[in-house]
């Protein structure tokens, strides 16, 4: 066990917690930049695997953070990273929840919401782009990504079926 590494994990994800406007999906490019490109804790392949396993598990999509912690420092790392990504934003939410309703119709609140909406959209689309570049290493993988996008936009299939279809195709043709 390495205390400096644990502290580094905690500090990295605690900061990201405050930056996670639009949830963890919007954070993926920054997480990739930090843990793969800067800290070299994970390779691109590790990152893609962690992303896949986190998506295949039930629960919130922040679980990729738990897996990064796990990769860096085992169970304790997973625990520290998960708490670090949740605790700061949760404390803020707890504090704000009590005063928020009083500002229900305040113009500033509306401006903040309308202003952040397009930034969030840009962040999520950037996540999709970075993920595609990391994950789609073959023509079949690109095809799976495109097919999933089309399926989500044109059908009402549950996302789990689309992940299962991805797994089946991947297992059969070894993407």
């Amino acid at each position: 066990m390495s205390l400096p590494l644990l502290a580094d994990l905690a500090q990295q994800f605690a900061l990201l917690s405050f930056l996670a406007i639009g949830g963890v999906n919007a954070l993926l490019p920054e997480i990739h930049r930090r843990v793969v490109e800067s800290a070299h804790w994970l390779t691109d392949t590790d990152f893609a695997q962690a992303f896949a396993i986190a998506q295949a598990a039930p629960g919130p999509n922040l679980l990729i953070v738990s897996l990064i912690g796990w990769k860096v420092q085992g169970f304790l790392g997973a625990l520290v990273a998960t708490i670090a990504i949740c605790a700061p934003s949760s404390a803020l939410t707890f504090a704000v929840a009590h005063v928020w309703d009083r500002f229900r119709d305040a113009p500033l609140r509306r401006a903040i919401q309308h202003g952040l909406a397009p930034v969030t959209v840009g962040l999520v689309l950037a996540s999709g782009f970075i993920l595609a570049r990391t994950v789609d290493q073959s023509v079949i993988a690109v095809g799976l990504t495109v097919a999933t996008v089309v399926a989500v936009l044109t059908t009402r299939l549950h996302p789990l079926w689309l992940l299962a279809a991805g797994a089946a195709v991947g297992a059969l043709v070894a993407v």
Partner: protein, 194 residues
């Protein structure tokens, strides 16, 4: 009273559930939500909170959701914090968020450990890559769906495009990108509504 939860749209501040849920109930309610939520937990949270346990009206849920999306952090965790605090204060928030995260956390680690055992098998690696590719498609599709309401609002499209370029192409650190883009975008929104 619990049956009488149909709040009219004009009722701005409907009261909390007739019998506030206990910490244990909060923990268990969110525990089940956490285990169900494949590919997005929010629909399951809505079903539990509004339809099954009736802790919130539909309108209250939308308000809780919009606040949790507006604040930083994982949205569903924020929902659990707000709902927990509404009924039981700090300990309610802790019970709800712990319930939400406990099982997914353990399951994902078990999955990762299992995966490590079988990673050498080609079909397993192929399946994982297939899931990654499909899950990437899910993220892109969510982005496209979120972009639809921006249609026709030129400055919002421009801000979304700028954010995309800054993060995806220029790889500017998120902190610096947000420090510039968020205030600029909020300022434009502020001017536009005058």
């Amino acid at each position: 009273m619990a049956d009488d939860n149909i709040v009219s749209a004009t009722d701005a501040a409907p009261g909390p559930a007739a019998v506030p849920p206990s910490r244990r109930a909060l923990f268990l309610g969110f525990l089940i939500v956490g285990m169900q939520g494949f590919g997005g937990v929010l629909p399951f949270a809505r079903r539990m909170l509004v339809e099954q346990r009736r802790w919130l009206s539909e309108r209250e849920f939308i308000e809780v959701l919009s606040l949790s999306q507006f604040l930083p952090g994982p949205n569903i965790v924020n929902v659990s914090i707000i709902v927990g605090s509404r009924f039981r204060g700090l300990s309610g928030s802790l019970a709800a968020s712990l319930g939400l995260m406990l099982m997914p956390f353990l399951i994902v680690l078990a999955l990762a450990a299992t995966y490590a055992q079988f990673a050498a098998i080609e079909a397993v690696r192929g399946a994982t890559n297939g899931v990654s590719a499909a899950a990437t498609g899910l993220v892109i599709a969510v982005g496209i769906k979120m972009a639809r309401p921006l249609k026709g609002v030129a400055w919002q499209i421009a801000m979304a495009a700028l954010t995309f370029v800054a993060i995806a192409l220029l790889r500017i650190p998120l902190l610096w990108a947000l420090a510039v883009l968020a205030p600029v975008s909020i300022a434009i929104a502020w001017r536009m509504q005058r």
